[in-house]
Subunit: 279 residues, 2 copies
């Protein structure tokens, strides 16, 4: 069995390395429009060969889509048009629009919507690492709409990545990721912009930056080509959580402005409940 | 030479462990109002003995103040009143008010204002670790106001902690820490509150939380007893940076609301410049 990976960046490349380790398939075929990235992917051994999309789809049993979500919207219907008994899996961070788009496609059953809750702030083939997915969560969205054998094969691939699994509907998935992934990126982007702005008048501003700052700002290194389409596709949910986050910051602001230190202490103590959730 | 550490939590305890490792002094005397923390500090070997404040000050050559900044404001003048040739160092996260308070104290020269840019989201004696300070920055504030021998001894202690050093005036220090430390905590507190609020209606909301979310929210585990006084003491700077941060979030909001994806892409790309600063 061959596997085609469409888009060999952080996610696609990491799947490639891992599946080569576990010998899950005979050949890993990469599809990548950037020639520079094709070369890097071959050099780094992320894929065995690179082919044009149509040839890759024809010669693979599983087709994994790991391009940005706007490119998934464009490519998925085209790929499903070419599919006979293959399985197509996408790894996009938003699902509602994608699932709506192919809801009535004659090959809908061959498609499995998945989202690995794994990643780093880096992108491109060089960012790929074999253990990116270990113990992370793979979310299946509307899995009941996939053919049973298609889902089983997708899940076998997830097993190879040593991931846990979870099932959701599309609305739920997109709202949840807005709250525990997309907003984290927006706060990081905004924090970076805030301090970079200050650097113009205060050259030494980053001199005292320690691990706390790094932790909250590291996601601001994330690719605009990947994230702009995510925010676009998940616009309604992202606007909701962003509004609520700004509201919470304004509450903290107003406690401090009004010197209500008891109220500020209470809010901080309430936020400490996050200890229940994260180690 | 004995060293007295006033407040044996994350910072005080970590100094204690490290100085015992390097045999910098004969005895480390802890001063700690909580009896439970006294016991823990002795059990964990962070200090050699615990004494009341006055006795500790009398029998130590260096007195290190590692209590929250509001307690420093209360204790520092009292301690300076009792000092002859000892050196008093505070490790507080804000400096302007502290330095104003003791500016005209007859023993001003025996005091060194320092701030180690090191810490974790944990607090209390159990949080102490020997290598907390390694390669981190110790900021000296208005060091020129300290007696030369007092500064030299404080700097020898900093050497034992294997820290880099930086010099600033109080205004500069408090503004810089607002931008690269205090704001990171506020965004984390607000982010935790945002998602905890959503959990009430969406029980599974944390199921998909991955490393990105953890990274941006981990500071929300920080102690309100430590952070409320910091925000109080650095109120003007913190309000300034918080206002700017909310403004940057509102800019991202408005680009998304108006479906200006080119503008959104530009802002994200601009924020990527943080790569120059953090690894």
């Amino acid at each position: 069995m061959n596997i085609a990976i469409i888009g060999i960046g952080l996610i696609g490349g990491s799947i490639g390395i891992r599946l080569k380790e576990t010998k899950f398939c005979e050949k890993i075929i990469g599809v990548e429009k950037s020639e520079a990235n094709q070369k890097k992917a071959l050099q780094l051994g992320l894929v065995d060969e690179c082919l044009p999309l149509t040839e890759a789809v024809a010669s693979a049993k599983i087709i994994v889509l790991t391009v940005p979500v706007d490119a998934i919207l464009k490519l998925l219907p085209e790929i499903l048009d070419q599919v006979t008994d293959q399985v197509v899996i996408d790894m996009g961070s938003t699902k509602t629009n994608i699932l709506k788009l192919i809801a009535d496609h004659p090959k809908r059953g061959r498609y499995v919507a998945a989202h690995p809750m794994a990643g780093t702030e880096y992108s491109g083939p060089e960012a790929a690492v074999a253990n990116l997915f270990t113990d992370k969560m793979m979310v299946y969205v509307e899995a009941f709409r996939s053919d049973e054998d298609a889902f089983e094969l997708a899940d076998a691939l997830t097993d190879q990545l040593e991931m846990k699994t979870s099932f959701m509907n599309a609305d739920e998935h997109d709202m949840h990721t807005a709250y525990v992934s997309h907003i984290s990126h927006l706060t990081s982007f905004a924090l970076a912009l805030t301090v970079l702005e200050k650097e113009k008048s205060q050259g030494r501003i980053f001199e005292l930056a320690g691990s706390g700052f790094q932790s909250t700002v590291r996601l601001a290194k994330s690719s605009p080509d990947m994230w702009t389409p995510i925010f676009k596709q998940n616009r309604t949910n992202v606007l909701e959580v962003l509004e609520e986050h700004i509201h919470q910051l304004q509450k903290l602001y107003s406690k401090l402005e009004n010197e209500d230190y008891e109220g500020l202490h209470k809010l901080i103590k309430k936020s400490n409940k996050i200890k229940r959730i994260i180690k």
